[in-house]
Structure formats: C-alpha cells, structure tokens
C-alpha cells in the first residue's frame, strides 16, 4: 500500500507535469534573454524528454542552456518545470516546484525517511518533544516523561 501511495503520488505529479508540458514545450527555449548558458557538455539528468535528444552534432561544442517554465496552478498545487536544452533539443526536464498544498501532498512530496539515533540515553539528557512508548496509561502517565514535556509547555 505504501508503494501504491507513492505510485499514486508520482502518478499525480506525473499527470500534472504532463498537463503542463505543452505550455513549456511551445515556449521559445533558446532566446539569449531568458536562457542561462551553462557551457560545456550537456548534463542530462531527466528521463522524460531524452528520447528525441541528439547532442552529438558536428564539430562545434554543444550549447546547453536551461529555461524555467511559468509557475502553473493546478488542482494539485503549483508546478514549475525546468528544461535543459542542448543544441536546440530538450535533453532534460525536472520539476523545480511541486504541489505543496499541505496534508497528503506534503507527505508525498517531502517525506524523507527519519533516521533513528544509534544510542540509548537517559531521557532527560536528550532534546525531545514527545515520547513514543507502549506503556502509557492514564495512571502511569503521571510519572511519565511525556507529562514533564507537557508541563513544560502548558
């Protein structure tokens, strides 16, 4: 299910990107006023748009530039896409803004796996906001660390 949720999230983002794609695609991408020259070899990271790319043309060094699409409002939130263009062909596309309405979208966009510390410590020596444990009861709670944390913030 976790995988399904991630897949759905990816699909939703993918759909958003797909819907916004034509807007970005039809934009003039090599105008010197809007594009940022990177120089050097093309750094292709994306996969969505690399199918039609061909950057080994002739003897001149490839010219690579990037262009940012407009921020597009969608039902899922704002989306903005950055294209990398090499010799007039799109060699990479990445989303530089994702839906960020909150709730589930934030979870999908931002969720990073929290890493547990390695050592057990005395509770009072650690900086802790809340305690997770299986021994909580209303009675035992009176002496519990969570109680102290609550008291400190009441």
């Amino acid at each position: 299910m976790r995988r399904i949720i991630v897949a759905l999230g990816t699909t939703a983002t993918g759909l958003v990107l797909l819907f916004t794609w034509p807007t970005s695609w039809n934009r003039p991408v090599t105008g010197p006023g809007q594009a940022t020259a990177l120089g050097g070899a093309g750094t292709s990271q994306g996969t969505a748009a690399t199918g039609a790319s061909s950057n080994g043309s002739g003897s001149t060094a490839p010219v690579t530039s990037t262009v940012d699409g407009a921020v597009v409002q969608t039902p899922y939130g704002n989306v903005q896409v950055r294209l990398t263009v090499t010799d007039g062909s799109v060699t990479a596309a990445e989303a530089i803004a994702y839906p960020d309405r909150g709730g589930t979208d934030v979870q999908i966009s931002n969720y990073a796996i929290p890493i547990l510390s390695q050592e057990a410590v005395q509770a009072q020596s650690a900086t802790i906001d809340m305690v997770s444990g299986a021994t909580f009861t209303s009675r035992g709670y009176i002496q519990s660390l969570q109680d102290a944390l609550d008291q400190a913030n009441l």
């Binding site: 991630v6 410590v121 997770s132 209303s138 519990s144 944390l149």
Partner: protein, 257 residues
C-alpha cells in the same frame, strides 16, 4: 539555542483511558482559533470512543459483537474501520487480525487496535486546517506530527520498555507518525493470531512512517509476529523503526520507499 524558539503551547486530556497530548508550535500558538481546533480534536476523540469502545455496552461495536445490529446498520465510521481492518489483515499477512483479538473468542470483531490511530488521524484534520502552525498529537504513546512553516522536525524519543526514564533512540520527524506497540501495552496482550496466545518475543516495536495508522498496524503486527518480525520489517517500504526483543537485543531499520 541562541535563536528565539517559536511560541509553543500544549494541552492534555484523558480520553479513551489514555492521555491525549496536543503540542502546537508557531506564531499562532496562542490564537483562539488554535484553542478551538484543539477542543475539536478532543471532541472528535470522545465521539470515536463512544462509537467504538468495547468497554461501553451501548457502543456500536459492542452491539455489533452481540449481533444486535448488522454491519450495514452501523455508521459510516464503523464500516470504514471494518474495511481498514480487512486491508490491515492483508498487508500484514494475517499478523494484524481484528477478528482474532479477543482472547478465547475467535471471529469476534474488535477493531480496538486500529481505532485509536484512525480516530487520531481524522481528528488531526482540525489542526491541519490551521495555517502557520506545526503540531504534534500524542495518543497514549502513538504520535502524529506535522511541521510548521519553519520546517523544524519534531524530536521524538522512543521509550525503553524496561525503563521508562530512558529512551532507546531519538528520531526527528517532520510529517508522519510514530507508533509503538508492546507485549504489555495498557495491561492488554497482543495475541498471535496463529496460536491465539499472547505474543511474547518482542518487548516493543516502534514504526515510523508517513501514516500513523499504518505505522501502528505494522508495529502491532511486528509484536504479534514475534522474532521473525526482524526479517519482516525489511519489507516495510518507506518506514524506519526499532524492535526490542525480550533478551534486550535492539534491531533498527530504515527502508527506502
């Protein structure tokens, strides 16, 4: 901590026989709207208790258990929880079994192991609706958190089941849930559905993930599963956590999504 800490406030109430703690952090911590949202959280949890408590003879769950009403007669909430329990049974390969949770009464539906985090997840909607605030909602040792605009994660300590003045680990959580289950939680036992006997091999299981409800289901399933959970948790994509076995061995994991 030289910079100014964000404004914080905390509330505690005893509901469902356990302490419910709400901590908020951010500019609106002392707003009246925040206090009202917290009151709504507590009210929702009391309503869920009235509907699902197995200690109240007039609750829908007790009437369902006695056969006085059918599932179709129950509220949408009860039917939703029934479906979630079915999904939990599948996702845990039978280790989380709401139809095998009552000692000596196989087949009786008791969703208590899922109701708490289900209710907390719904009730937290009142806090999610607030802008500019992060919150941590703790319900008897299971915690749901969301960061505010400052994106500072909440620091969660994981209690040592042998000594509640020690924490086995700390973990920063920005958005998601931390759930811990143990062999003697709240004086009740988690049954191994395969034997019907209390599970004894794992002292406590903590699961951290984007969903508190599923973190809790997996933590309970890990305890029911026993020592084989050490391998089983490796398949819980997008979670991290910690198992303490009866002999004191601690097993940590952190799985990519």
């Amino acid at each position: 901590m030289t910079r100014t800490a964000p404004d914080r406030r905390a509330w505690v109430e005893q509901i469902m026989g356990m302490p419910i703690s709400v901590h908020v952090r951010g500019a609106g911590a002392r707003d009246a709207a925040t206090a009202r949202a917290v009151e709504s959280v507590f009210a929702d949890l009391r309503a869920a208790d009235a509907m699902f408590s197995t200690y109240r003879e007039d609750s829908q769950i007790r009437r369902l258990q006695r056969g006085e009403i059918a599932l179709a007669d129950c509220s949408t909430a009860v039917r939703e929880v029934w479906l979630l329990c079915g999904t939990a049974l599948e996702r845990t390969d039978g280790a989380f079994d709401a139809w095998a949770a009552v000692p000596g009464s196989p087949g009786t539906f008791d969703p208590t192991g899922l109701v708490k985090t289900w209710a907390v997840t719904h009730a937290a909607g009142h806090l999610r609706a607030l802008t500019g605030l992060g919150f941590a909602l703790g319900a008897g040792g299971d915690i749901l958190v969301q960061t505010g605009p400052d994106q500072t994660p909440w620091q969660i300590g994981i209690e040592d089941p042998r000594d509640t003045h020690r924490v086995l680990a700390t973990v920063p959580v920005a958005d998601g849930g931390v759930a811990t289950s143990g062999v003697a939680a709240r004086g009740q036992h988690i049954l191994d559905p395969r034997t019907g006997e209390p599970a004894t091999e794992i002292l406590s299981a903590t699961v951290i993930g984007p969903s508190l409800l599923w973190a809790d289901v997996f933590a309970t399933a890990a305890v029911a599963r026993g020592a084989s959970a050490v391998d089983w948790v490796q398949g819980l994509h997008g979670t991290s956590g910690l198992l303490m076995l009866t002999d004191g061995t601690v097993h940590r994991w952190s799985n990519a999504p």
